[in-house]
Amino acid sequence: MTRASIAAVPPATPDQSRRTAPHVTIRGLCKTFSDTPIYDHFDFDIPRGKLISVFGPNGCGKSTLINMIAGLVPPDAGEVLFDGRPLSDVKFGYVFQNYREALFPWLSAFDNIAYPLKLMHVAKRECDRRVEQLVSRLGVKIDLSLYPYQLSGGQQQLVSIMRALIVEPEILFLDEPFSALDYEMTLFMRDQLQRVFMETATTTVLVSHDLEEAVYLSDYVLLLSRHPARVVEFVPYDAPRPRSDRTMTESDFVATKAHCLKLFQQEVRRG
């Protein structure tokens, strides 16, 4: 909490992000889409046990970044290591924006959540036990015997998040997870995600197109420039959790959001 006083508008130096040993190290990442370099020797460290949001102008490659880290999109060059290990040695969770197409409609919500365990050849009884454990830990109140298409959008996305968490991942990626939900559901889901994070303290990388959401949820906001993406600033925000509606009216929230917005608009105008 000693840093709280400078948290409002701090100049984020690389030293700050490296205070603790980083969880993920990204070095020399390159990616070109149809002759447009999206990433050109991009370096970044993701801190351990923090929730970071990736925010930046449209088309700057926010999703591409987590997709490259999570192995969904192969980078043209560069290296991503998790405590020095490659992705194949790492248990991770990934939550898609489009929950309708990411869940399996032929499986009940319960079996959707258990599916990654089934892939790992975990016995049925152990699967059931672990799903029930996760449900009670997160305090989820959904009838999991229903099929995804019988659930609301928010409930479906919550099932997706639980499916990502069931393997006890060391890192969780979420690609604009709430942008297909209505505002009421988005507010509810933010708090669900915050609860998940407080419960599990899993390193979490969230791509967001909503600055309010990005700041509200994060320990750090990673502001990216227009392509080729650079780190404009890695903005810390360390209001205590659980954060609530009141958090959003506090001065350091307002200041941090304004600071991010200023940088963002500079980037947008630059293009």
Binding site: A70, L72, F96, E101, P105, W106, P116, L119, Y147, V167
Partner: protein, 251 residues
Amino acid sequence: MNRSKALLPLVGVVILLAVWSLVTSLKLVDPVLLPSPLSTFRTLWAGMVGGKLGADFIKTVMRTITSTAIAAVIAIPLGILLGSSEKLYRSVEFLIDFFRSTPASAMFPLFLVLFGVGDRTKISVAAFGAALVILFNVAYGVMNARKTRLLAAKVMGASRSRVLFDVMLKESLPQTFVGLRNGVSLALVIIVVAEMFIGSTDGLGQRVFEAQQLFDMPGMYAAIFAAGALGYTLNLLFLVIERRFVHWAGR
């Protein structure tokens, strides 16, 4: 209100029967050409229960089911194989489309040469027609599997074969059932035509044709209704199976 809604589908049937009764009772059409509904349905009932029509009905059912089953056994695995490789599918797409567009009835002479006059010819032509329809649908179902769903399975660490069996196959099921329903309808059409003209002695096609030759109009209408009921029931059967096993289709 709900009950009257449930009765709506019967309205058309009642109107048809009323018009038909009116036409026959007023003798607006030569009674030899159009028998009354009563005599038609009496003939249908007598024929189906212990009469020759019932035996022919069963023959046609057996042929249609056999040819559809053969078609499914060949076309479903092949469709999965083609659908899972875009390159493979594109390289045979023209052939499939060409033969799918070729009227299967045009293949009768060829199959007659190959299999002789008998059940094998009828069943193989029908199976040929149905197989192409099923193949096309299964391949499309597999190819149009939602990319996000495949990616989700991959990201959770599913191997290629797990992705194929756990996701692609399930994804293709709704389209597979569309193929099966179209396939069985086509098989029935081909079987009935074959029974009429390809040296047949039994089956619904033969019954219709023979009744017409003998100017047995109630018998002819009865056989037509039997064929209609068969087609309708087969389609319904596949729909019920589909609802049961592909509960997520269209949702």
